[in-house]
Amino acid sequence: MAERFISRGFLGRRRSGDGDTASRTPPGQYITEGFPVLSAGPTPVIGLDTWSFTIDGLVRAPVTWSWDEFQKLPASEWTVDISCVTKWTKLDTRWTGVSVDVLLEHVELDPRARFVIAHSFGGYTTNLPLADVLNGQAFVAHGYGGAPVEPAHGGPARLVVPHLYFWKSAKWVRGLHLVADDQPGFWESLGYHNRGDPWREERYSGD
């Protein structure tokens, strides 16, 4: 096998930090101070008067909120670490949003519901086990760092699931479909992992 060429003196951006930050950095990740913007397509332009959020699929009756109705739901402050599969991790990101637990209180789940497909304005989708969005593990955020979430970062509202790789935190989210069988979303159907736990480095299917 040919030896791989090594670029003299090239270290790249990686930095795992020391002490506390090292223990908070999942394997293979580096800490970033900035907030990189990644996308699969153009930033959708979503007017608040046309925005809506729907929970449907394996529920007794679907429910939809307009922006004004969504703002009236109880929101919390969340400070979480986030990790992107492209290897950056950002510590202590501050969000304001509505827990998915609160949203699911408004529907009656069919016992067959085991997976969630999050889908977004612009067509993006991602799949998650239902168990991964319950019990305070996921929220729909409309605020970041004390201001509304910027369009480039998924505003007006995005899903945030901090314990999984950040491609699961669907930007411009418009709803959750509850389903019985897992259905790979946009990146999952292209070789990425169906669950995506950064602590187990579940980046690609088969990991």
Binding site: A40, P42, P44, F121, G122, S189, G191, R203
Partner: protein, 93 residues
Amino acid sequence: MMVGSMDDPLMLDANAVAGDLYDLFGVELTAVLHQCASCGNRAAVGTLRAWTRGPGTVLRCSVCSDVVLRWSRTSSGMVLDLRGAALIEVPRA
């Protein structure tokens, strides 16, 4: 269909991923004609708009902005989804 602003600073021309296209197809593809499966637009692959910052690369039609080609690099190789391209016409060398 929600078309975002084409003023997106992340958007590049397919030219920027010509090397990846070569890895996938074994030929220089940017001057080659394709047909968008969504709107039927026929144009050089080089006119597609590329989003490269993310888990993979997405090439979108410059007319309707639907996905024409998309691929990722995983630990075992590359995964390519061609369903957005109705045709690719590679001329004789």
